[in-house]
Amino acid sequence: MSAVTARPRNRILPVVKLHFANPWTTITFPWIVMLTILVLTILVWMLILANIADPVDQAKTREGFGYSGSSGFIFVYMIVVAVQSINTMFPFAQGYGVTRRNFALGTGLYFVLLSAFYSVGLTLLSIIEDATGGWGVGGSLFSVAYFGDTPPERLFVFFAIFILFFFAGSAIAAIYLRWKAFGITTFFIALAFLLVGLVALVTFVEGWDEVGAWFARTGLVGSFAWSLVISALAALGGYAVLRRTTPKN
Amino acid sequence: MDESRPIFLQIAEQIEGDIISGALGEETQVPSTNEFAAFLRVNPATAGKGVNLLVDEGILYKKRGIGMFVAEGARARLVAKRRDQFSTQYVRPLIEEAAKLGISAEQLADLIRKEQTA
């Protein structure tokens, strides 16, 4: 039997490597799709503009291009990645003798790395977008206002959104893995009650103005900083669920 | 492989048979336990038991770092042992079967002579 030295870091990195072992699903494919969306969106914009002769109308149309939401694809796709990382990768890693703790730590690190990678990528694209005046058509895919106004702001906002989708997505996947359909249904019903309850409460104390004012005060970056708290809670919750998850035969 | 008797005994007997027939000459090397195990598709521990049985009886011996060898005089010893067992193993059942079929002792002797010359 080989003597094993206690080097915890050495057991977390293999988990990270495992998640990256086949980069097709998590890196290659999403970039291909995203760039395809970008190219197609630009072509569509160009086609639209080509059919408008009047410069005034053209300017108005260009304004409308500033609110494209098709960059949302990449965020939603990451939920899929997060879910797969739990539903398939966790049982697979268990087969490799990985403890739940090391899996949680390795996967968390993986999420952070992916988030950093994608937020840097998107920020760079937004810089290019700004520099080319909206890809030459005044369009806005990555520099949309709700991501922030400056590259550093955008970098942070992108990062926070990715982190939130990863950890919330994986927490929900963990609930499904442990309690299956029953667990998911219960969770979402409970969540719905909670949200409805909160809305009712705020309406009852007529606090919507205060809520709006708070968001205005905190600002975009501040609000997303608070979302990191939710992400942290999701991460802890997900781990708590995973700790007692057993294989379903 | 016969299911009714311990496999290690059958392995020992197979090696003994090879020694008697001359397939395994004296002072030649016998396949290793792992080789037997793989060839016969049995657990190495079982194969090892069979080999060790023969080592205990002095039929095989171990040369350190090289392997198992057939001991000198092994064939002669085995033949002697088989001769002792010959009566109980072959003659007795022959007589019993002959008795069941009503073949007398002289008829039996005739049959034996006929078979030998054929």
């Binding site: 039997m1 080989s2 094993v4 206690a6 915890p8 057991r11 293999p14 490597k17 495992l18 072992a21 086949n22 097709w24 699903t25 797969q84 398939t88 990768m89 049982p91 697979f92 268990q94 087969g95 490799y96 003798g97 990985v98 403890t99 739940r100 703790r101 090391n102 007692r244 057993t246 294989p247 035969n249 | 492989m1 016969d2 299911e3 009714s4 008797r5 311990p6 496999i7 290690f8 336990t33 792992n34 195990a37 793989a38 016969l40 598709r41 049995v42 657990n43 190495p44 521990a45 079982t46 038991k49 059942p93 019993e96």
Partner: protein, 294 residues
């Protein structure tokens, strides 16, 4: 002898059903154990308990002297291969073998490549496009090439055809001889593996009903066949494991006979025939079940 696994009073309950019920046994180092039992007897649950994937309701487990639950040091030296393994999206066999190296300290990549050729596993096709036999083969290859000091095979060869299964048994024996380790094989195909086993554990309804060296078991019973009256007379004073018969012929399974008893039986005109490990285990299992329901 050192025990790699020591289990004492182990129980795992699901509600009121005990999947594993008061199990106590040891697994000695560097032997091939068979964990035999019917479908649903508790084989998989037991192995999951030993690898910390399931949690015990009662009792203790020691693997390499420690509790395996969430124990990275212990788990690093184990490998658990099961039949219904799901592989990550878009993984190909080469990704499986590449990543296995990061988790099994003794991983032998050359051996894995050899086995992949022998089992005809295409390295660059997606797992989801492979046939069931090829997927099972990947699992089996990981189990063999991991050279983990304690390796579990939970019926991973059900998807393999007879030729591939024989290949697995052959490679297993060969590699076990050259790199001794502790192996636990669960199966309900007893006859196929019976010669591979050194020790047998039989689990029925969650309970360990047989825990014995394979050689002892193999020699422990005989079928006595002949005219009913003569057979009954012969078995009168012995423990009967099983009775069978047709017309005036009886076939009774009894405990092992001494050479003297063998001659007596033969002289009485009775025939003795072997009882395979599978028949023996089936009969002992059925007998226990009848005892329990009585």
């Amino acid at each position: 002898m050192t025990a790699v696994v020591e289990v004492d009073g182990l129980t795992r309950k699901f509600g009121s059903l005990a999947a594993v019920n008061d199990a106590t046994f040891r697994v000695e180092q560097n032997q091939i154990y068979g964990l035999l039992g019917r479908n649903g007897a508790g084989k998989t649950t037991l192995m999951q308990l030993l690898t910390g994937q399931q949690f015990a309701s009662e009792g203790s487990i020691r693997v390499f002297g420690e509790n395996p639950v969430e124990n990275a040091q212990v788990l690093q030296n184990t490998c658990f291969i099961k039949e219904s393994q799901k592989y990550p999206e878009d993984f190909q066999p080469r990704h499986v073998f590449k990543s296995a190296a990061w988790f099994f300290p003794n991983w032998d990549a050359d051996f894995a490549a050899e086995l992949a050729t022998e089992f005809r596993v295409p390295l660059k096709r997606k797992m989801k496009k492979l046939s069931r036999g090829q997927v099972s083969a990947v699992g089996v290859i990981v189990g063999l090439a991991s050279r983990a000091p304690l390796t579990f095979f939970d019926e991973p060869y059900l998807g393999l055809d007879a030729v591939a299964r024989q290949l697995f048994y052959d490679r297993l024996l060969e590699d076990f001889g050259e790199h001794p380790r502790s192996i636990i094989l669960s199966t309900h195909l007893i006859d196929e593996v019976s010669n591979l086993l050194e020790h047998v554990l039989v689990i029925d309804d969650g309970r360990i009903i047989i825990d014995a060296p394979a050689d002892d078991l193999r020699g422990s019973a005989t079928n006595v066949v002949g005219p009913a009256a003569a057979v009954e007379k012969f078995v009168a004073a012995r423990t009967v494991l099983h009775r069978d018969g047709i017309g005036g012929l009886a076939s009774v399974t009894v405990a092992a006979l001494t050479p003297a008893e063998v001659s007596t039986a033969r002289s009485a005109g009775l025939e003795l025939s072997p009882v395979s490990l599978q028949q023996l285990i089936i009969r002992m299992t059925t007998e226990k079940e009848m005892e329990q329901s009585a």
